[in-house]
Subunit: 439 residues, 2 copies
């Protein structure tokens, strides 16, 4: 089989590796330059990545976990920074595999591209897709036409493949921007070379005016992503002078001014970026002997608040690989099976990722919410198999997203019932006390 992959990002280069390992002829077209070229690391910009169970499984499937290990920092839990500077550590779990792995998108991308090339994949850099013909199927670039049995659109949230297909065929598209955006700031290692804060954890500064998440890097620095509204005085539109930036961070995230000595300069220098949710349907169109299929962000971009963007894209690769192996002589059936297996679950992920934004922003200081979270974790500790919190199901298992949500909802109902029962007992006790007193 021959395949043309549009996009040499994380999803595109991993699916190229999967296909090449099965002996397929793979060509990858990428509009950007080779990530291994000088200066490419600096040009790139991204939210740092937390590799979790789904991504790990997909990388294990192509034998890349060991090569990756030195590029990652394990995160054993979450350090929550309070507005008073107080720190609270929440471990992800007690089991050794309940950790996330922080990695730079660029480093992971270079590893995957190099592996694909080693397996015989041809990369065309600086080669944007111009047109897609799903009936051949083929992709046209400025330098020529690339026909293949299978065309894969792995070209990101603003996929050109998707746009070109949508023009010719009936494709639903839902594209929604968050009214908040983000900027990245670097928390450098200390002057002595040691990290300025706990390195083996994800750092979170929740809040209703802004959120920060920081991932550790192997060199002892951390990359902080600051999420703020675009509009308003306390948004990117308003925070345009050193005084305003300094007083905003002093008020909302006081300890960041110690962790990032040049915070104000970095904040004013760096460009803000936007966050988008994309759902589309269908993901695949049959054509010729095979067809066209979308995967990763091209098929289902999500907000980053559940840390599942890359992980779900990698899971797409392993599921598509499985479907192709299950239907080796029938590409259209394999593509239909892939979409059927994945789309309901990534739709759930999109909703969960939106919900987690609201949780991080609004609920994280609500006593009732925190009490339920605590009960959830406590029950997991008591019944580690029977009771698994949603976050654990999403990040530390490969239970499909939709099933994870259904299970969490059942648990939630139980917890709600238990809370109601406990409230009832407490009320009854109070009434009893009052009565006794009144006697």
């Amino acid at each position: 089989m021959s395949a043309v992959v549009a996009g040499a990002g994380l999803a595109g280069s991993l699916i190229a590796v999967y296909l090449a390992r099965h002996g397929h002829r793979v060509t990858v077209l990428e509009r950007r330059p080779d990530p291994r070229s000088p200066g490419a690391r600096e040009r790139g910009r991204s939210i740092n990545l937390g590799l979790s169970q789904r991504g790990i499984q997909a990388l294990r499937g192509v034998g890349l976990l060991e090569a990756l290990e030195p590029l990652t920092v394990p995160m054993r839990g979450r350090v929550v920074h309070g507005p008073d500077g107080a720190l609270r550590f929440q471990p992800y779990g007690r089991r050794a595999d309940q950790v996330l792995h922080s990695v730079l998108r660029h480093d992971l991308n270079v590893l995957l591209v190099a592996e694909a090339e080693r397996l015989g994949v041809t990369f065309h850099w600086d080669t944007p897709v111009r047109e897609v013909d799903s009936t051949v199927p083929s992709v046209r670039t400025d330098t020529g036409e690339h026909a293949a049995d299978l065309v894969i659109g792995a070209d990101g949230a603003f996929s050109t493949v998707r746009a070109r297909l949508g023009r010719a065929r009936r494709m639903d598209l839902h594209q929604e921007f968050l009214e908040w955006g983000y900027k990245e700031l670097l928390i450098p290692a200390g002057a002595d070379g040691h990290p300025r804060t706990e390195l083996r954890a994800l750092h979170v500064w929740p809040g209703d005016e802004g959120l920060i998440v920081a991932h550790p890097n192997v060199d002892g620095s951390l990359t902080a992503t600051v999420f703020l509204p675009f509009e308003g005085e306390a948004g990117f539109a308003g925070l345009t002078t050193p005084e305003r930036v300094r007083s905003f961070f002093a008020r909302c995230f006081p300890d960041t001014l110690d962790l990032i000595p040049d915070l104000v300069r970095q904040f004013l220098d760096h460009q803000e970026a936007s966050l988008v949710t994309v759902r589309t349907s269908p993901w695949h169109l049959p054509g010729g002997a095979g067809g066209v299929v979308l995967l990763g962000d091209a098929a289902h971009a999500v907000y980053p608040f559940f840390g599942q963007g890359m992980n779900s894209a990698f899971e797409d690769c392993s599921v598509l690989d499985r479907c192709l192996r299950e239907h080796p002589a029938d590409l259209p059936t394999a593509l239909a099976a892939f979409e059927r297996a994945r789309r309901p679950h990534t739709d759930v992920l999109a909703e969960l990722s939106k919900r987690n934004f609201v949780e991080l922003r609004d609920k994280v200081r609500s006593p009732l919410f925190l009490a339920r979270k605590k009960a959830d974790l406590l029950l997991h500790r008591c019944f580690p198999r029977a009771w698994v919190p949603l976050y654990t199901l999403i990040s530390h298992t490969t239970v499909p997203y939709g099933e994870a949500l259904a299970r969490a909802r059942r648990q939630d109902r139980l917890l709600g019932g238990a809370t109601a029962a406990l409230t009832g007992v407490a009320l009854a006790a109070a009434v009893h006390q009052t009565r006794e007193r009144n006697r």
Copy 2:
């Protein structure tokens, strides 16, 4: 003020007329050839149009109603064709102005283009938009750059202006295709030159397997639009042989075979088209001294089942004109006021248009539904001002769509309450009877 309008369709040419009447310099860019050129009428394809109150008001605003009159056929009500061939006439209302006016898109378009040209508007035909820069604002075509105070995207459901803006700015987009499409068939006038069926009405063939709507033409013919599922044996995908087409129509719409002698040939020759709902936000982006704004289908394409696509686009034109006159020295404020005034209402229209599809397909044979419709109409006849059915509010008034829906909901609740009360009385009576009998 100077304005560049992308699209010389119905919305684009009407807004050009509005602007030119106020002395603004207007340039219109259109990717298609001049509709007045030879063969243009035959090349065009569209659902026939029913001009209702909102569209009439907008055309009255530029003094075009009289010139339009000879191009239209008044429709005084709906003729419903039953599966047994039985006909039922439902008048739109008893007032003389409660009629719709059937018109060919092409004829109306030519009228508007000629009027715009008469007022000094410059048209560039065969000139697709390539890029839009909202910061100038300006539009680039293959032949040059057109800068203006105001750029208007009136280039339809698959608007290039919208796509170009969305690439650069955060614009939400929801694009949903119906799983049904349509084909147009011509019901010719009889051999004696007389119409083959009642001409001064809209004809409807409801049904759950397919729908037909037919609009009269001034020459005594009618244009029928056949709506069917794309997929399945009884959909466009399956109806590919003369036998299948004939037996499908004989079963579902028997009288059409008499009305359209060459139905089978027409059905097999004509191309099917798709139906899309588009919602987007924002509609306007400030830039330079003014900005860019979308209107008509570019801003809010809807399914045709409420007959409001053109009417709402025309209403956009009169509302935008009003906003521009209310804020003559402040274009960005005028554009913001326009979007604020319109978007909530066209969002409602999109939902109503979806709902009307379901009604036409599924509910039109439900006795409960029909009983409620009848009660609705009866109440309107008794209390013509106090009680106005939703269809009347949408088609025969200019009450904003959102307010029309809110009012209809209040009436619905009353009707529901009345139904419940009547049921209660009937039950009580039955119980009373039973008791009496048991004495």
